[in-house]
Subunit: 270 residues, 2 copies
Amino acid sequence: MDKLQRKERVAAIIKILSDNPNKVFSLGYFSDFFGSARSTLSEDISLAKKVVEYLGCGKIETLSGAAGGVKYTPGLSEKLKSEFLNELCEKLSSPDRIIKGGYIYMNDIVFSPDISSKVGTILAAYFIDKNVDYVVTVETKGIPIALMTANALNKPLVIARREVGVTEGSSVSINYVTGSSKKIQRMSLGKRALKKGSRCIFIDDFMKAGGTANGIVELLKEFDCELVGIGVLVEASADKKLVSDYISLLTLDMVDEENGKIKIYPTTNN
Amino acid sequence: MDKLQRKERVAAIIKILSDNPNKVFSLGYFSDFFGSARSTLSEDISLAKKVVEYLGCGKIETLSGAAGGVKYTPGLSEKLKSEFLNELCEKLSSPDRIIKGGYIYMNDIVFSPDISSKVGTILAAYFIDKNVDYVVTVETKGIPIALMTANALNKPLVIARREVGVTEGSSVSINYVTGSSKKIQRMSLGKRALKKGSRCIFIDDFMKAGGTANGIVELLKEFDCELVGIGVLVEASADKKLVSDYISLLTLDMVDEENGKIKIYPTTNN
């Protein structure tokens, strides 16, 4: 195929970087790939940076030094983020989402690839400088968001199970107490899932009191790993929290079953 | 911000299309967004098509008619697909993956955002013309691949559960018999998860005899929905299949625990 021209090369660079978030590509890689001089590519990359800024979808950075190169960090501009979270609140406050017991139905939201990828991009931004080795979640409902967060950070996802599967090999199980209903629960993780001494973040769809987060801390201790951050899509404001340091994107303030009212808004203290 | 020039606009178009796979954007949308004439944009889109073709990462199509516009369908060229699947086989044949019972450890592979997104892109391509309404999977290990398939198809993901959760509302449960071990299992799905009369595909990480796929057929019947396709990452060749029409990307031929040997290769009949 013919050599690409600048107007095509800038697009190709954006596509490659965008398909590989937070992966560093050397200038040499692009130079070989396109058969272009490095100086030409530097100009291409400047244009790519401008486009990403224009779209408000993250940033492209040039890193210097031996491990240097170019990388794309996905993101949403404050404006896009605020629009997205407000739309989400509107969807989630529909009275027909109320489920007996004061819950709201969120599966269609948290399982939607479109929504979970944006949520993952937004959550990842809070942890990008935390030197994260793994994104950890507990089955089941948090998995899509956690996967998309891991994707944006370019880090592996680890899923703790409620029950031990036969395909995990040796595993470690712990007991923990749920924060709101004080029930004893169990979670387990295959021994090979985490490398000793790793830094992990816990991502989930919903947090009431934070009992599950505490369980994750216990589980990580068994692997000599550290929890360096917690991020959830929705926190319930009614419950006193067992954990202090976490990020939530939305706050569920009230579910009034009797009058069919839900109060949910973007969390303000981020 | 200044108006973008062609060399930037082509890149912006690719980024927007690529972040929204299989979503149709009207020419009018781009025309408003960039403040450019439609004729100019048509040329931009031709360049974007060329770039995607050059990279072997799917295709950009122009659809005519009232619902017309431009859309990007992710894909991998035959060359990239074959390279990727061969690399995957190499990783999966490492003897330290053998787990007692003739299983191989795949969690790090199927939970990796990088790998699951490529697997999802490849699987989606088989079902793009099937008029799919939902991608269905059963918790837990198939979720990342199913989510990425749903993402590539721009369709919602639905996850059947092993146990009924309190946050699903009313749900339907069925019993099914596993194909290889003849155990009775149960799966359930919230009543609001699927619209009556929908066309669904079932995506999973691993298929032995296909008992789970049969369970999905039963479950979908309860919702008056139809299973129009099955796609799995790995099928085990040893087991006689209960389902005939399915796509697998890799075939696991043999796990020799005693001698520490695994035989796995890209499935040839696709």
